[in-house]
Amino acid sequence: MDLYSADVLVVGGGGAGLRAAIAVAETHPSLNVAVISKVYPMRSHTVSAEGGAAAVIKAGDSLDEHAYDTISGGDWLSDQDAVEAFVREAPEEMLRLEHWGCPWNREPDGHIAVRPFGGMKIERTWFAADKTGFHLLHSLFQTTLKYDAIQRYDEFFVTKLLVDDGRCQGVVAIELGTGQIRAITAKAVILCTGGCGKVFPFTTNANIKNGDGMALAYRAGAPLKDMEFVQYHPTGLPFTGILITEAARAEGGWLLNKDGYRYLQDYDLGQPTPKPVLRSMELGPRDRLSQCFVKEQEKGRTFEGPYGHYVHLDIRHLGEKLIDRKIPFVRELCLKYVGIDPVKELIPVRPVVHYMMGGIHTDIHGATPLPGLYAAGEAACVSINGANRLGSNSLTEILVFGARAGKAAAAFATANAGARPSLVAQAEDERRRLEERFLRKRGGTERIAPIRTEMHQIMEESAGIYRSETALKEATGRLKRLQERFEDLSLDDDSYTFNTELTAALELSYMLDVAQTIVHSALERRESRGSHQRSDYPQRDDDRFLAHSLACRAEDGSPRIDYRPVTITRWPPGKRVYGR
């Protein structure tokens, strides 16, 4: 087997992964860093982010304000030391992106422009039209081309972490173009594989968001933290789930129910005003807005369409000029995928799964409990987002923690020795497993699509916006049966060359593992906080649950849930107040 090696290996070529690679190349130029990704880096899901990235830059704003907005937005489940580090490093990271060429929108005098965003008291969201993630990712990717130390393995699908001697020392991956299975050893591995939205049927997420890194870490013994916190973005298009950015509301859009009524005012989110007021009404936090939709639906005040219930987003009053200048992509998406022009018509929207607050448990340097294994971005949970993420914090998070994880991993790699030959044996075992269980197996009765559809059904019914004990308990059993059925899977495609059925099967197995951690964590958290709402435990319970849930893989493969206290520094838990 061909053995490749690097000093630091970054898995995932999105914003966090590329930022981590640059951090290694800049701070430790003698190390070589490899970025391995199952798609070309410019296809990573960072590219779809639209609204913006938050950082304190304007006079009248302060780090404490940003921290408070983030902590209260997270319903006090955010680790406050991490949030303090995050808001402090955010402005310099964003300026660095600007120096690297990111085309941020500007004020007439040439300074960076900021826009208001949900849950934030003061405007601090930097934006590049409404394709911020696209510009951020391309600027980062093009900047990585500068560094010869960064070696890329494009379209390599990681199937297993190599763990030896209590340390993570590399990965096994399928080179998609040839089908060859390769071992890549490294002194430190950083997982930046993004979230797991495709566990759910309706999501803004791309096809590639299957929780790969989360499952890899989980199987290697690292715990997954706060997996029950799944963010539903209030405005996604029905059927496709395509994201209509929060910026549409930040610029002044209104959410209207069946009667044309701005229904958010009924749910303690403030009073409707013609211009948007920060932290009020449509600029409230995402979890509350999604929950309001469900309540409206229960009251029968939502529209019913061929793809489920929906409400309307009204941006007609913003005018064509503003729409084309500030949110042109929204107009483009509506024209193309719904056939309506938002300048003159109302946009049908509904909550769709968007972001995973939970992920691989790391400290504020991006280190997981498994030595040599680091994580950053949506795949990780530090946690700064707590029980609910504020819009525009994620793009900043990938930069801040991507850099942190890169530096920490580089320091670890400098201090530790390289791989031992015993790793090759592990890699050979993995190759045999892949060949026997997937490529050469014949006669299995199961197929990928039905198992995946049923997983979607289970997650939608039991791990949606409102959850209950009975539904969750049933879900754990049903998911376990799905995992058993998965063992009987066989593929149509026995080719080695670019076998996307094999990768789809592996992704499904990752998603089943991750789905189990979500459902078990949700079952054990018997309270409602942020985006995790239990209809049987509707109150927040700080006495018992001001803690992060940790899901570890037990002997039988199912998750064992433990708890870990939240780090509180300067902001004692309080009430989340919006609209007042």
Partner: protein, 247 residues
């Protein structure tokens, strides 16, 4: 509206055949479906061995470029209803080697992208300001259009010059070079000039204009190349007539 429509898809399994073949699938017709939805239906229900790339399904990642009825398109943004009554022919992009079914190898482009130095180049010895570089909205508009490229490769697949002369740097790479040349923060125009004025650079382009026609993001690479020809030619004249000042 018909109940089904025929999808004729190019297949290529290198372990089994030496040349691509075509297979036709009957798929349900839905007016909301794009070609990508049809391909997913084939893969999920009819033939799991069909390989193709896709990710965001909203026209921003650039993965799903393929030829639909002979025209390079993003299959996530191409509606079945525009192709009734069918059959709809789906093939891999032209001028790139076919790896498998609808998957082509794009490493040539990635290499060329790196060649044009698509990053902010500053003069040696200067460090960036403490805050942001100032850039007015008008300065941003000067290059904004060229920054919209999603690297989908439809332009390369439409460019006959790239098909005839594979060493041509190509539309997207040159548009990306222009994006940086015209960025007020960049000072690398001279470095890129050498690469772009080379034999395989802008002078291979004969302004067929197909690249701009197929670009889903209205980047207008043809425009970028022609404008750069003016810059390149002016620079060449200057270096001829005023050799000292051009340097």
């Amino acid at each position: 509206m018909p109940a089904t429509v025929a999808l004729t898809v190019a297949r290529y399994r290198p372990e089994r055949e030496s040349e691509p073949t075509f297979e036709t699938y009957e798929i349900p017709f839905r007016k909301d479906w794009v070609v990508l939805d049809a391909l997913n239906h084939v893969k999920d229900r009819l033939d799991g061995s069909l390989s193709y790339r896709w990710s965001c399904r909203m026209g921003v990642c650039g993965s799903c470029g393929m030829k639909v009825n002979g025209v390079p398109k993003l299959t996530c943004a191409t509606f079945l209803s525009d192709y009734l009554p069918g059959p709809i022919r789906v093939e891999p992009l032209d001028y790139f080697p076919v790896v498998r079914d609808l998957v082509v190898d794009i490493t040539d482009f990635v290499r060329k992208l790196k060649q044009v130095k698509p990053w902010i180049i500053r003069e040696d010895g200067t460090s960036p300001p403490a805050g942001e570089y100032l850039q007015t909205p008008d300065q941003l508009d000067a290059y904004k259009q060229y920054s919209m490229c999603i690297n989908c490769m439809l332009c390369y697949s439409a460019c006959p010059i790239y098909g005839l002369e594979p060493s041509f740097i190509g539309p997207a790479a040159i548009a990306m070079a222009q994006r940086y040349n015209m960025d007020s923060r960049d000072q690398g125009a001279a470095e890129r000039l050498k690469i772009l004025s080379d034999h395989d650079g802008i002078w291979q382009c004969t302004f067929v204009g197909e690249c701009t026609k197929v670009c889903p993001k209205h980047v207008d690479p043809a425009g970028a190349i022609q404008q750069y020809k003016l810059t390149g030619a002016t620079h060449w004249m200057k270096s001829l007539l005023l050799p000292r000042s051009a340097r």
